[in-house]
């Protein structure tokens, strides 16, 4: 994978539509010690030798750990919540007939409300996840991407 990634990225940088990503407001990384756009000093120092060392170093950097933490802190509880909610719904629908048939309003019963609720929570969680990723991860992840690519290129030469 690594052998292929080097030359590929060199070519790709020329024709990738980065305007898409630049909407997130990244600035051209200018080497070690630059300041990240959100004001914190950039913590990854350029001292890797091989690509493997570069990845280990980036993985250990505070900036990457922050991206990973933000991703996991959103995704882990959200995934657990929607899976449990769905399982509860399916189990209730197959076993708790009387509860599900209880009327709520008009012809709407608990089952209908729960089913529409599944649709609603899916839409809401989709919106919340996309918003969270856009506001809290995209920019830092993109900076890390450029920086890591710079470092691996340096490592391979």
């Amino acid at each position: 994978m690594e052998k292929e990634a080097g030359p590929d990225t060199a070519v790709l940088r020329l024709d990738d539509p980065w305007d898409e990503a630049s909407a997130a407001g990244w600035s051209e990384p200018d080497g070690a010690g630059a300041t990240a756009a959100d004001g914190r000093p950039r913590p990854v120092e350029r001292r890797g030798h091989t690509a493997a060392e570069v990845y280990l170093e980036v993985q250990d950097s505070p900036a990457f750990r922050e991206v990973r933490r933000r991703y996991r802190r959103f995704v882990a509880p959200a995934a657990a919540a929607f899976l449990l909610w769905y399982l509860a719904y399916v189990i209730a629908a197959t076993t708790a007939h009387d509860l599900m048939a209880r009327p709520v309003a008009g012809v709407l019963n608990v089952a209908m409300v729960a089913g529409l609720g599944q649709f609603l929570t899916t839409f809401l969680l989709t919106w919340a996840y996309a918003r969270h990723a856009r506001l809290h991860r995209d920019r830092v992840a993109l900076e890390l991407r450029w920086e890591t690519q710079e470092m691996t290129r340096g490592a391979e030469r």
Binding site: V58, L87, Q118, T126, D138, R145, T152
Partner: protein, 530 residues
């Protein structure tokens, strides 16, 4: 269903075939023949285009006609399907789409094999991906045969056999000549047609009831013959405990399987970045969610306006509910409006089948050429020759699918879709999630996860009532049914995860921290992404 419907429907089928073949040749003209182009369509589709294409890949005729039909017959229990099919997308969005886009190049095996000894892992994931695709494909082909026969009125075996052959030949042409770019555009056209058709019918149903959903549901319940029970769960899955467990098993397979479907995963490689992949999933969730909401309206609409009994008389599994509804909404049998709407619905169903089989064929040809061929044969083969292999593989997959489709055309293969989702959830998903999120995951763990999910899933189905031991099974004369459920997910999904864990902890090879760091950094930042 008389001559007028058929003529108009055949005309619309031909128009769709002509348009899609036009797209294929137009795209093929500009083709460069690189692997990037063939498998990923040049990776420059916009999130909106890819979102429509994903929705097109996912919304099969089984959802359009099948789910509405189930709702028309069984009321609320049919709706359980649509919920499962939609919620599944949260797994894709949160855990899979962006990370897969960042780590892989063309297939699922790219992601899993990146951290591991490449050959055994790529072979294992390749085998399970091809299995999933072929199961799904055969279900679609058989469905296409009976559907076209049903819509055109003829139930003769010749019509069905020629439909299977024709659909198979067309999908091979789309895929081997047009690759991912043509397939994507076909999906987009199909998704637009399907959404337009569904919106039109939904609006007509709601107009019929003056926008009063209460009245719609009440009259659906009245005409169903079940009264209020029609609007609450239990008519289909509320009987024995076996039936209940079976539905829980299916629900689990639907929700976890989508994230392991090869033809869905390969769609994320057609956009330039992980951010674009996320935005395409957001688009597709919007489209798929509103589509399934509309199938609910159409299903209850069919129960209210056509009547459950009449739907059941026309087709025992309810597949004709939406076409019959279209006929009624257009003004009834013999009217111009009814004829036109019926023909349009039939043509949309046909377009749906063609687009879905093309997407699956492409994904399985990628698995054969990029995973199986590349890892089992010449490792240093040039990209050019790999694309040639992929084209041949598409033809091979087509021939296999046509063959199996013809063999199975008289069999009840409705379980195959559930089985495809179960295999995807039991074999592909554990390997994928472990390799993305588990630091100590090893080669042995990956191989065990795949086979540990694939083998139980297939074995349990072979030992289930769908194959033998009941009047509706494939071989009613034999009784080997040791496993009571029709869908193996409830057992095989935990088995896959357990096997992956067991393989990892018993592995003599220590996990490679640098490879894990590479996967983690690449998956979350996109560094070095293709």
């Amino acid at each position: 269903m008389r001559g007028d419907h058929q003529t108009l429907a055949l005309l619309l089928f031909s128009v769709f075939i002509a348009v899609t073949l036009g797209i294929t040749t137009w795209v093929g003209r500009k083709r460069q023949g690189s692997a990037e182009e063939f498998y990923a369509g040049g990776r420059l589709f916009s999130p909106m285009e890819n979102g429509f294409a994903i929705a097109g890949d996912y919304m099969s005729a089984a959802s359009f006609l099948g789910i509405s039909g189930l709702i028309a017959l069984y009321g609320y229990d049919g709706m359980l399907y649509s919920v499962g099919f939609l919620v599944a997308w949260l797994v894709v969005l949160l855990l899979v789409a962006e990370l897969v886009r960042n780590c892989g190049r063309f297939t699922l095996a790219d992601v899993v094999a990146a951290r591991m000894a490449e050959r055994p892992v790529r072979t294992a994931v390749g085998i399970s991906s091809v299995t999933v695709s072929v199961l799904y494909l055969v279900a679609q082909m058989v469905g296409a045969g009976s559907l076209v026969a049903l819509l055109l009125g003829g139930t003769s075996d010749t019509v069905r056999a020629w439909t299977v052959v024709g659909v198979g030949a067309l999908m091979v042409v789309y895929v081997s000549l047009g690759g991912m770019r043509a397939t994507t555009w076909i999906q987009i056209v199909k998704a637009v047609l399907l959404m337009a058709g569904a919106v039109t019918l939904t609006v007509l149903v709601l107009v019929r009831f003056h926008g009063d959903v209460n009245a719609l549901l009440t009259s659906a319940a009245d005409r169903s013959g079940h009264g209020r029970d029609f609007l609450s769960p239990g008519l289909r899955y509320g009987g024995s405990w076996t039936a209940r467990f079976d539905f829980v098993s299916l629900g689990l397979a639907l929700v976890l399987g989508t994230a392991g479907l090869p033809h869905i995963l390969s769609r994320f490689y057609t956009v330039p970045t992980a951010r674009a992949a996320r935005r395409s999933v957001v688009w597709s969730i919007g489209l798929i969610g509103s589509f399934y909401l509309m199938t609910v309206v159409l299903g209850f609409g069919a129960a209210a306006l056509v009547g459950s009994a009449e739907v059941r008389t026309s087709n025992a599994s309810g597949n004709t509910a939406v076409p019959l509804l279209a006929l009624v909404l257009g003004g009834g049998e013999g009217s111009t409006g009814g004829t036109v709407l019926f023909a349009v619905v039939a043509a949309i169903a046909f377009a749906t089948i063609l687009a879905v089989v093309a997407g699956i064929t492409l994904a399985s040809s990628a698995s054969v050429a990029h995973d199986l061929y590349a890892s089992l044969r010449r490792r240093g083969a040039k990209p050019r020759s790999e694309v040639a292999v992929a084209r041949v593989a598409a033809a091979g997959v087509g021939v296999v699918a046509i063959g199996l489709g013809l063999l199975a055309q008289d069999l009840n293969v409705a379980f195959l879709v559930g089985l495809a989702f179960a295999v995807a959830a039991s074999a592909n998903l554990p390997a994928l999630l472990y390799s993305l999120f588990w630091r100590s995951f090893t080669t042995r763990g990956a191989v065990w996860a795949v086979y540990g999910g694939l083998v139980p899933a297939v074995l349990l189905v072979l030992l289930s009532p769908v194959v033998s031991g009941s009047p509706t099974s494939l071989f009613p004369g034999v009784d080997l049914a040791l496993f009571p459920l029709e869908n193996p997910g409830l057992v095989s999904i935990p088995a896959g995860f357990l096997a992956g864990w067991l393989g990892t902890v018993t592995s003599s090879e220590p996990p490679d921290p640098a490879k894990h760091a590479e996967t983690e950094v690449r998956s979350l930042t996109g560094a070095g992404a293709a």
